[in-house]
């Protein structure tokens, strides 16, 4: 046991010596369960979204990441999905359904640009792209939460009502900051269906 203890000290001593030379690496794995599930739209599983979210967390916090291409592809598809389905042209939805709040956002962040065309054509594009993603046999999962919700409009309405009630309980500042984007998003989905 004494031998092992001395090794331990040696290891820490090395760490001290090279403490300014530490590189952190995140390796994110990916499993085909995500792919498997994506081929069965009725199977709902949160695992896949979890791994994509893990990857974004690592990238977001500026880590050096080694990950399978398939996971990056899933992330790419998730972005496409959002670009088309949820928030097109920099918060298009918010602009359309809550122009006051959108104006406030613009004041806070000049990078948010108004869209000149928040109309039905954009929505049609979204739907076309959605169908495209949906039809692909190996499409990754990100679409399914929305597909499920679309098929359960009543549930979605209930979600909206509950969230809205909760938003009313919060003070104005928090409501504006935290709840509005989600409410708008839900409102938009409800209106479309």
């Amino acid at each position: 046991m004494k031998m092992k203890a001395s090794y331990l000290l040696l290891l820490f001593a090395h760490s001290v010596y090279a403490s300014d030379l530490v590189t952190n690496l995140v390796i994110v794995n990916d499993v085909s369960e995500s792919i498997e599930n994506s081929m069965q739209p009725n199977r709902i599983n949160n695992l896949d979204l979890t791994m994509i979210t893990e990857l974004t967390s690592a990238l977001f916090s500026q880590q050096l990441v080694l990950c399978p291409k398939s996971l990056l592809i899933s992330l790419q598809n998730a972005i496409e999905l959002w670009n088309f389905f949820a928030i097109k042209d920099e918060l298009l939805i918010m602009q359309k359904y809550d122009p006051d709040y959108f104006a406030k956002m613009q004041q806070m962040n000049p990078e948010i640009i108004s869209s000149n065309d928040p109309d039905a054509q954009a929505i049609d594009d979204v739907d076309a792209e959605m169908r495209d993603i949906h039809d692909s046999p190996y499409s990754p999962l990100p679409y399914y939460p929305f597909m499920m919700m679309i098929h359960n409009v009543k549930t979605l309405q209930a979600t909206y009502v509950e969230l809205n009630q909760l938003a009313q309980q919060k003070d104005d500042a928090e409501k504006n900051r935290s709840w509005r984007p989600y409410l708008q998003l839900l409102k938009r989905i409800l209106l479309d269906y």
Partner: protein, 541 residues
């Protein structure tokens, strides 16, 4: 808000995850990552602040690699990549592919001096845990034809990080990287001696070491989404400077590991919030295998965790009751035989009063025997409620664990000969079963059980059981708890008929022989060294 249905919560969680994801990606896009194609399966993502570093400074051979066109990969290629990923998973060859990627990234050095110039690495492997510790990475032992040593993809990766990369620490986050998975992955045959684990020179940290799925506390909303809503803060990143714990967790993890010495206490605390400890702890419990050690040590969280060890039973609490204080939320069960009476105290004025979770941690022998557990503040009239409260962390465990409580007393009633089990085969059922059995005051036995893969049910129906069979089962569990050998649970009914003894598997035999050979070789080297030293001293004199 209590009226919110589970379905609504689930949908909202997904919606929030997606929205957060979108917001994060917008920021990632703006941060100018450099994506390099390492192999046909793996990509290295280099953040902007590291792109000016040379290969030697970064510690990875990345300069000659082709750029990967993230965000503009053509649709056809995307489909091929996903098809390929599916094949890799079916063949469980992710480990081999990862090893190939690491080999491409390795910087070959000529001597020790050059090696010491390379940076140390803190590595965090993040993934699902299915049948193996990290899904897709095989732990099946295969014998090397040249060396005769049994190894697996998983062990080869750990070896590679041991010998070819200057690894400072390795953290593995996964669902339940513990219990039988450790035994299988490292071919563990003894708690104090293991050839594979003893070779590893870096700290090996398992996040999610205990029962149940690991809750990815840093990246997804936890159970009480309306109270916690970490994803809201994530989303706010787009709109405001507020920070979410989740988004900084990787940086915080590495910062604590880079302290000298590494601050494992603070590192561990990142995965558990004290307010939610009884929810987070069983899922995110951390165990650490220190350099050259053969065992995993479970991190001790002060004030909220009480550990019951074999030493406690043999010395400190010998013939004395052990009092579990009000604050204790987790009892770590290290001892197999708990001879003293365990008295669990609870503050009944607290509206949220709940019993602590009991978590068995002795992965070498998962048979436990309690003489007595007393719950003086518990008003339960049935055995079901306290048992389900204390042992519900064993949900979804599909490996055999059996616990006997000779006497369980609440404020109202006493129950004798209680057995709690999980992951056991029962005749007539295809799935492994989880449940409990007991004998009431009139000598009648009852049992209740359900598939181990299902979440524990709050109300389960009890059925009459054979009291004689239950007593003999209790005897077997008690004997196994005392013994160093582990009960063979190939079938509960068969086990009751006759306890079988199983010969040592060939693979284990070979591994032990190999270790003996290595020991002999090491001794012979030591002898030669001592001889040389002796000769030198003689010459000096």
């Amino acid at each position: 808000m209590e009226a919110l249905s589970a379905v609504v919560k689930k949908n909202t969680l997904r919606l929030l995850n997606m929205f957060s994801l979108y917001c994060n990606v917008q920021i990632i896009k703006a941060s100018n990552y450099l994506f390099k194609e390492v192999t046909s399966e793996f990509v290295l993502c280099i953040p902007h602040h590291m792109q000016h570093l040379s290969q030697i400074q970064l510690g990875l051979a990345y300069e000659k690699l082709r750029k990967f066109p993230f965000l503009v990969v053509p649709k056809v290629e995307k489909q091929l990549i996903l098809q390929e990923a599916k094949k890799i998973d079916e063949a469980e060859s992710l480990g081999k592919k990862l090893l190939e990627a690491l080999q491409v990234l390795q910087i070959i050095v000529q001597d020790d001096q050059a090696w010491n110039q390379l940076p140390l690495f803190n590595i965090f492997i993040d993934g699902h845990g299915l049948y193996t510790i990290t899904a897709g990475i095989s732990t099946t032992l295969e014998k090397d034809e040249k060396t005769g040593i049994a190894s697996s993809d998983y062990l080869r990766i750990l070896d590679y990080l041991n010998n070819h990369i200057r690894t400072k620490s390795l953290t593995i986050s996964s669902c339940y990287p513990s219990g039988q998975k450790l035994i299988d992955s490292f071919n563990l045959t003894s708690k104090w001696h293991n050839v594979y684990l003893e070779k590893i020179r870096y700290p090996l940290i398992m996040v999610g070491s205990l029962y149940g799925p690991t809750s990815m506390a840093w990246s997804k909303p936890r159970v009480n989404v309306y109270e916690e809503f970490p994803q809201f803060y994530t989303a706010q990143k787009l709109y405001s400077p507020q920070k979410n714990k989740g988004m900084t967790l990787f940086s915080d993890c590495f910062a604590f590991l880079n302290e000298t010495p590494a601050n494992f206490e603070k590192f561990s605390s990142l995965f558990v919030s004290t307010e939610n400890a009884n929810v987070d702890l069983p899922q995110n419990y951390i165990s650490i295998k220190f350099p050259y050690a053969s065992w995993f040590s479970f991190v001790h969280y002060k004030d909220i965790v009480k550990s019951i060890s074999a030493i406690d039973m043999a010395a400190k609490y010998r013939n004395k009751p052990m009092l579990i204080a009000d604050k204790i939320q987790i009892i770590l069960l290290g001892a197999n035989v708990i001879t003293s009476s365990i008295v669990i105290s609870r503050d009944t004025s607290d509206e949220k009063v709940s019993l602590p979770y009991i978590l068995p941690i002795n992965y070498h022998n998962q048979n436990y025997f309690f003489n007595e557990i007393a719950l003086p503040h518990d008003q339960s009239e049935t055995v079901q409620a306290p048992i389900i409260n204390m042992f519900s962390a064993l949900i979804q465990v599909e490996e055999p664990i059996a616990i006997v409580i000779k006497k369980l007393t609440t404020a109202i009633k006493t129950f004798d000969n209680v057995v709690i089990f999980t992951g056991l085969p029962w005749e007539g059922y295809d799935d492994l079963q989880t449940g409990y059995a007991y004998i009431d005051h009139d000598g009648n036995a009852f049992r209740a059980h359900w598939p181990s893969s299902k979440w524990i049910r709050r109300v389960v129906s009890e059925q009459p059981y054979d009291a004689v069979a239950l007593k003999s089962w209790i005897e077997i569990i008690e004997q196994s708890a005392h013994a160093t050998s582990v009960t063979d649970y190939s079938s509960v009914d068969q086990m009751l008929a006759a306890k079988k003894t199983k010969p040592m598997p060939e693979m284990v035999k070979q591994s032990k022989l190999q270790h003996l050979k290595e020991q002999q070789a090491a001794r012979s080297i030591q002898k030669t060294y001592r001889k040389k030293q002796g000769n030198k001293k003689t010459l000096q004199r």
